[in-house]
Amino acid sequence: MDAVFLAFILMLSIFLGFELISKVPATLHTPLMSGANAISGITIVGALTSAGADLPGLANFLGFLAVAMATINVIGGYMVTDRMLSMFKKKDTGGQS
């Protein structure tokens, strides 16, 4: 794909990212970080094609390693973020319930 076109997407995404994240309150900084961590596991999409495509054995094996590492990121990241976020409670519903 055209490199300039990809750079265009990159530029827009970075600005969008800054817009979105700068509004997150300090209370949620840890979940934001682990949530972002899970999103960085998106590299799994690239890993899938390396692991499954008709490529030399080494490339497939590297793809496998990448799939495994990225899956740790995705599954672990989303689960732990969910666990953390479910603990955040407002005053009314909070306390020992």
Partner: protein, 453 residues
């Protein structure tokens, strides 16, 4: 499915990621936001599995089972106090995954100088992220001494490493072929560089490092996206990169230091702080109880020590007792309290403290003059008035929580040792300061017991 159709689905996935992140911005909708983001990820993975390039699924299934098992195990069993090292470790796995993706992309067809460059970049950033995160993990989990490791020629060694990597990169990009010696050398050098950049950084600066590595793990995915020409990798990677940069920036501002100052100069190399001397006034738990019982406005100021002592539950218990007693209870959170951004918030949330009682530094400081009691639990630098008054202090200029403005300050402290940055704290010698020596959890439990009798 052809790549055109997969890209159409990627648009939907990107929209879900963006919407999910937007909802992650408010505690009320954050759970849903995270779930939306997970759906986006699932969608991206599923449509990619239908790509016509994929001819066999053995490696994929094996990788997913192994990775999923490990990820789920850690996510379920990890204690909330271990969250910083967990996040550090996950940053690392993201980085190494991007390294492998870039490396594998080298075996594809039509690798020119541009593809070579992006492959090199993803391997480089991925490698630095990986070993950097491992060191951060080791420091945070105290498998390694948290103190900065500095030696004389450090900058020269780092500059030489970086120069060698760039040299490898240039030569490699001119002729990007699989199995190039320079490529392997660059991987090794990137891994070494990751170690070198994190070892000189002390434990108290970890919030900055974790945020920065978080950003790198996104940028590595971004670079891998360029290497294989994949939109969704670029979009999602850039979002993570931006998130990490913003957090890094917030953390640096909260310490009144520039990023380069955090990364390149360990604490202690700076001017000698003015020696503080004076008499500390200890207090016992009975007297502490009497003062707290009479107070109508109490704020708790937690720091890393609260996490170490696992005192968050007993803090919440004391807070509830005080509220039943008609007292207004708040929790004052400094942005860099603890070892990662938002560390204290998560611990207190775990202990069932409602998030609307957690007050940020800029909002609590104007209220400090009317505060009857400020209870400092395992915090030191973030409440050190030397940051305001003493120009010679290494932390001079760092915004702090002005607990010394409260009518009475209780400082819970194990003993009279100075804090992580080795800075003397004049707060301990203040007229309105009472030191409650001993384990924070034990001391607070004793006060709670007084309340119950």
């Amino acid at each position: 499915m052809s790549w055109e159709w997969i890209n159409v689905w990627y648009i939907a996935s990107a929209a879900l990621f963006i919407f999910g992140l937007k909802q992650l911005g408010s505690p009320a909708t954050a759970v849903r936001g995270n779930q939306l983001s997970a759906v986006a990820m699932l969608l991206a993975i599923v449509v990619t599995l239908f790509a016509k390039d994929i001819v066999s699924y053995e490696w994929i299934i094996l990788g997913m089972v192994v990775g999923g098992g490990i990820g789920a195990y850690f996510a379920r069993t990890i204690a909330m106090t271990e969250m910083p090292e967990m996040v550090a470790l996950f940053n690392g796995t993201g980085g190494i995954a991007s390294l492998f993706v870039g490396w594998a992309a080298l075996y594809g067809t039509g690798i020119g100088a541009f593809e070579g460059f992006t492959i090199f970049l993803s391997v480089l950033i991925g490698g630095v992220t990986f070993t950097g995160s491992i060191i951060a993990y080791a420091k945070l989990s105290e498998r390694m001494d948290g103190a900065p490791i500095v030696f004389g020629a450090q900058r020269i060694v780092n500059a030489a490493l970086l120069g060698l990597i760039i040299l490898c990169g240039v030569v490699f990009c001119l002729d990007p072929v699989p199995g190039s010696f320079l490529f392997y050398l660059a991987i090794v050098l990137a891994l070494i560089l990751g170690v070198m950049v994190v070892i000189p950084i002390g434990g108290a600066d970890m919030p900055v490092v974790i945020s920065l590595l978080n950003s790198y793990s996104g940028l590595a995915a971004c670079a891998a996206g360029f290497a294989i020409g994949n939109n969704i990798l670029i979009v999602a990677g850039a979002l993570v990169g931006a998130a990490g940069i913003i957090l890094t920036n917030i953390m640096c501002r909260a310490m009144n230091r520039s990023l380069s100052n955090v990364l390149f100069s360990g604490f202690g190399a700076v001017k000698e702080a003015t020696k503080v001397e004076g008499e500390v006034s200890p207090i016992n738990t009975e007297d502490a109880f009497l003062i707290l019982e009479a107070a109508s406005n109490v704020t708790f100021v937690p720091g890393y020590g609260m996490a170490v002592a696992q005192a968050q539950h007993v803090v919440r218990e004391l807070g509830e007792l005080l509220e039943e007693n008609g007292c207004e209870v708040t929790y004052a959170i400094h942005p860099v309290a603890g070892r990662m951004p938002g560390h204290m918030n998560v611990l207190l949330a775990e202990a069932n403290v409602p998030y609307d009682q957690l007050i940020e530094m800029d909002d609590i400081n104007p209220r400090m003059d009317n505060m009857d009691v400020a209870v400092v639990i395992g915090a030191n630098d973030v409440v050190n008035p030397a940051a305001r008054n003493d120009e010679n202090s290494p932390i001079y200029g760092m915004p702090i929580i002005n607990v010394d403005h409260a009518r009475t300050v209780f400082v819970l402290k194990r003993s009279m040792a100075s804090g992580f940055s080795g800075v003397d704290n004049p707060l301990f010698f203040g007229d309105n300061t009472r030191m409650l020596f001993g384990d924070a959890k034990a001391s607070l439990s004793a006060v709670v017991a007084e309340f119950k009798t």
